[in-house]
Symmetry: C2
Subunit: 147 residues, 2 copies
């Protein structure tokens, strides 16, 4: 397990979301070795069902253009769902690095089927924070993934 | 072809986006026969790469909860891309009605593979407005779909 700058930024965002009373999922976008944007889930904070961590991060990245997205690595503390995986597929992101997939399987098969390299670091801290959240607030978590 | 209230709302949003100097794609969400939210692409207006029409619409819908999404029909003036199709798949939307898919194939196979009913009304007005936009601003359109 190698917690590089991108994953550390995603973990920091995860904790920021938790501190705000939100769903603790964080994300970061790295282009050419540099963190260009971060974000975290804002369902609770903004009353917004669409602002998953990766969506917030990509929005914060702004209009980088397709060239940058094609060279980007998207980090997330949790395996992306179909919404966020769909964003990675549509924008041609080639690599997705996640903190864990124990608390949510997400859509790695869908991403890999579209040529994205998906790496799961299985970071104990990510697993623990998310496991506690799912245990403590199951209704909120189910709402976030649409079940 | 039956332009019902949902499709008319999506077309109205499409024209609103065009009038704002944006990418002319509009969307509406109908739950239990009522339009509960509308939205349009805001890449240009907000400098936001993620706010496709359907994403804007779902954000505007707010935290309806999974039950409402499962009974919802998502309308779009154009066949949804993988990002927006991923949103429909993740949130368990069962029906997607689109204005056209001549200017962009989108991801109907992905949606249908996840049990979503996809109906393409092939509305001439949607085809014409989008065709003109793609012809006039190809770089902006390519940026929107990540190519």
């Amino acid at each position: 397990m190698n917690i590089d700058e991108g994953m550390q930024a995603a973990i920091d965002e995860m904790k920021k979301g938790l501190a705000e009373g939100g769903i603790p999922i964080g994300s970061a976008l790295v282009v050419d070795g540099r963190v260009v944007a971060v974000g975290h889930n804002k369902r609770v904070q903004d009353g917004d069902p669409i602002t998953h961590a990766e969506i917030d991060c990509l929005r914060n990245a702004g209009r980088l253009g397709a060239g940058s997205f094609h060279r980007a690595t998207l980090y997330s503390s949790l395996m992306p769902c179909f919404l966020c995986s769909g964003a990675a597929v549509q924008f041609g992101i080639k690599k997705v690095v996640v903190g864990e997939s124990r608390n949510f399987p997400g859509a790695p098969g869908f991403m890999r089927g579209h040529g994205i390299e998906v790496i799961d670091l299985d970071v104990p801290e990510c697993v623990e924070i998310m496991a506690k959240f799912v245990r403590d607030q199951p209704h909120l978590w189910n709402e976030d993934i649409g079940v």
